[in-house]
Symmetry: C2
Subunit: 203 residues, 2 copies
DNA sequence: TCCTTAGGTGTACGAAGTACGCTTACGATC
DNA sequence: GATCGTAAGCGTACTTCGTACACCTAAGGA
């Protein structure tokens, strides 16, 4: 009976991602997304309750894009692949990292991801509080990595500044920052995750 | 010759923390801090370039409050204590967690913390890229934990919602969320860090 | 005493989120 | 095919921020 909707959630998300990818997270405003869709600003409020709800749609979309089918290999290898898929999915839209960090717990699609990870951890023999801690540690590790990469990439200016600090004041830091510039993000992620997985495997 | 300053950085930080502790991070506005100090809003701009600089002062203060003297024990134990001191320092002002995550790389006091951690890792026999990855992994772990605790505490409503999901759709998640409610933050942090430290120790 | 210089203030502007009420177009019903 | 109820869509306007700018003021050395 009533007038039908003319926009889908996917269109909203696509418009938001277009704005974010092109102009950065700070440019993600209701007005900008509306303009991207060729719609009046207030028109968006027929689809989302507020700006946070729009951000949540974006984060949920990113999570939904992650393949949760279980890969081959032992449970450590499976965890490695699942987490790497998440990392890559987020990396496709680097500017949304802060949104992922803020909204992941409210994104419905994260449930599927968590369930998949838990099934692998269970296969690895974990349950009870051990499984809780393992899951939180792995997710925390991923979030921490995204945080590190986004706000303080090893290849970024912060590392250069640190590598130029006086060796008298910060002998190890200056040296280590210099070493750090040759570690690419992929390697950092792989080796960091190896550390956590070794820790999980050792009794 | 000129008129002397009437405010110190410490007073600025104290006012900002008072606002944040009392009314939350969203209430941290230039106007609110100025009011807290009994000063006109624009008066703050004689002390900080902009709002970000004020936030940075707050984060730096939190980092400066961390004792970086090296504790007794083996290197793993030393790392454990150092990271726990950081966690506790941040936990004194829970609402500033997002600020810490955003500004840590720009806070001068973080240099001292990193140097201290690197000295312990070096003592543990790490150097080169291994030391880089170890450092980043430990910091990432701390950041991920703070993120988890702040936006999705195990004792929070998200966990309850997950524990009430249909066991048909999410068998492991529902079960694990129920288990999770009995894991307090201290224990979660200790056990998570143990995993990382075990991973660092194993070859 | 006065003058220099930075401290301190008030006003105002632009950007953003969003409440509110009007207008409009669809499509079910007669 | 005309009508009408309902939600879609829009324009306006209010509030709250950050902060640029121009002005006034007070401290303290000359």
């Amino acid at each position: 009976m009533p007038r039908p909707r003319s926009l889908t959630d996917d269109q909203l998300v696509a418009a938001a991602l277009a704005v974010v990818d092109r102009e950065g997270l700070a440019a993600l405003t209701m007005r900008a997304v509306a303009r991207e869709l060729g719609v009046a600003t207030m028109g968006l409020y027929r689809y989302v309750a507020d700006r946070q709800a729009l951000e949540l749609l974006v984060v949920d979309h990113v999570f939904r894009s992650v393949d949760t089918s279980l890969p081959d290999g032992g449970w450590q290898e499976r965890i490695r692949v699942l987490l790497d898929r998440m990392r890559v999915a987020v990396a496709r839209h680097p500017a949304v990292v802060p949104l992922v960090l803020r909204h992941r717990q409210a994104a419905p699609a994260s449930l599927r991801l968590i369930e998949a990870m838990l099934s692998v951890l269970t296969e690895g023999g974990l349950d009870g509080a051990d499984r809780v801690v393992a899951q939180r540690t792995l997710v925390g590790h991923l979030l921490g990595f995204l945080q590190n990469e986004h706000f303080a990439p090893l290849s970024g200016p912060g590392t250069i500044v640190m590598s130029e600090l006086s060796a008298a004041d910060y002998p190890l830091l200056a040296r280590t920052a210099a070493d750090a510039r040759s570690v690419p993000p992929d390697e950092e992620f792989r080796r960091g995750l190896d550390i956590v997985l070794r820790g999980l495997s050792a009794t």
